[in-house]
Symmetry: C2
Subunit: 198 residues, 2 copies
Amino acid sequence: MPGSPDVHRLTRDDRRQRSEAAILAAARQQFADAGFERTTIRGVASAAGVDPALVMQHFGSKEALFAAATRMPDEPVWGPGTSAADVPRLAIEEVLDRFEDEEGRDTALALARNCLTHPSATTAVRDDVMCDRISTMAGVIGGDDAELRAAVLNACLMGVTIARYLLELPPLASASREDVTRLLEPALAALVTAPDAD
Amino acid sequence: MPGSPDVHRLTRDDRRQRSEAAILAAARQQFADAGFERTTIRGVASAAGVDPALVMQHFGSKEALFAAATRMPDEPVWGPGTSAADVPRLAIEEVLDRFEDEEGRDTALALARNCLTHPSATTAVRDDVMCDRISTMAGVIGGDDAELRAAVLNACLMGVTIARYLLELPPLASASREDVTRLLEPALAALVTAPDAD
DNA sequence: CCTCATGGTCAACGGCTGTTGAGTCACACG
DNA sequence: CGTGTGACTCAACAGCCGTTGACCATGAGG
C-alpha cells in the first residue's frame, strides 16, 4: 500500500519503518473514527496492507498499539512574558491547532474519542494533558481559586472541542474557526479575571 | 437479589417487574462505569441475580437493553417569563441536578459515558439532548449568532460535566457545587450577552 | 556465492461474546 | 384438583477477537 512502486529498491530498515508508519496511520484513523473496542487488529492490518501478525510483531499488543498511536507531542511552553489576559486566546489557539492540523490531527482525535471508555486514555487525558495544562495555567492567572478556574476553563475548552470534532454538533461543527474564537474568548476571559468580592 | 425475603408472596407480574427493574439498574451502573463494549450480558445478569437468557427475554438484545437503560426523562420546560439573564444559572442547575440526583444519575452517566464511542448514544446526545436545548435556548437569548452562542454554552457545560463526573478531574471533581456555579455562571453569561459591535 | 538474520505471511488456537431453543417449575385459573 | 401459561434456567452454538508458533523469502555480510 505504500506509495513508491519500486519498493524493492529500498533498504530493509526503510521497509520496516514504512510498514510501521502505515500501521500507525491506519490505527490512528480507526481508533479516532470507531473507538478502541470497535477497531480490530485485522481491520488495521487490512487498511495498512499488511498481515495482522505483523502488527503484533511491531507493537506487541493492541494496548501497546493504542499507546503508540495516541502518544502526543509536547505542547509549546508559554514564554515568561505571558500575562493572564493572553491566556484565553492562547489556550483556544493551541487546542484548535491541535485538532485542525492535517498531520497529528488523528492522534488527538484518537485520544479524545476514547477518553471516556478506555482506561489508559482516561488517565492520559486527565493526568498528562489536563492536569499539566491546569497547573501551568493556574500559575499564570494567579489569585484565589486559580487551580479551579483553570480547571473550569480547560473543561469548557474540552467541551467545545468534543462537540465540534467528535459529536459534530451542527452549529459548532460548521462554524468558522474565527466565530468560535470570537464567542469563546470573552467567556473564558470571565474565568481568568477574579471578581475579588461578591 | 431483590430485597423482600418472601418473594413467593408476590404476584407473577410483580416478580416480572422486579426482575426487569433489577436488570435495568445493574445495566445502567455497568454501562455508566465500564462503557457499552466492556459490559457483558452475563455480567449484568450476574449483578441482577438472574440468568443471562432472562435479559434477552426481557429486552431482546444488548442494543435494546442499552436503549432502555439510557432513556432520559424529559427536562422541565422553562416558563414563558424566562429572560436571557436567567439562562446561565438555570442551565447550570439543570445539568448539576441531573448528575447529582441519586435516582436517575446512572441514566445520565451511562448515556454520557458512551456518547463518544457508541453510535446510538452519540445520536441521542447530539440530536435528542443538545439540539433541543440549543434551539429553545437560542429562542430565549435571541440576537445575532443565537444558535451558535447557545451551542457554545451547552458545549462548555458538557465539558465541565464530563470533567467533573466522568474524567473526575481532581480540582473539579472535588469542588463544591456552589463553587462550580459561582465560577461558571459569569463565563456563560458572557455568551448570552451579545457584544453588538466589534 | 553461501549463509544467516530478519521482515513478512499463514493457519490455527483458546477464550469470550451475544444469542437461541429446549426444558423446568410454580403460580393462576377453571 | 388438574392444567396450561408464563417466568425462568440450562446447555449449547456460531462467530469474532487477540494472540502465537511454524514457516517463507529476501536482502545484508563475509
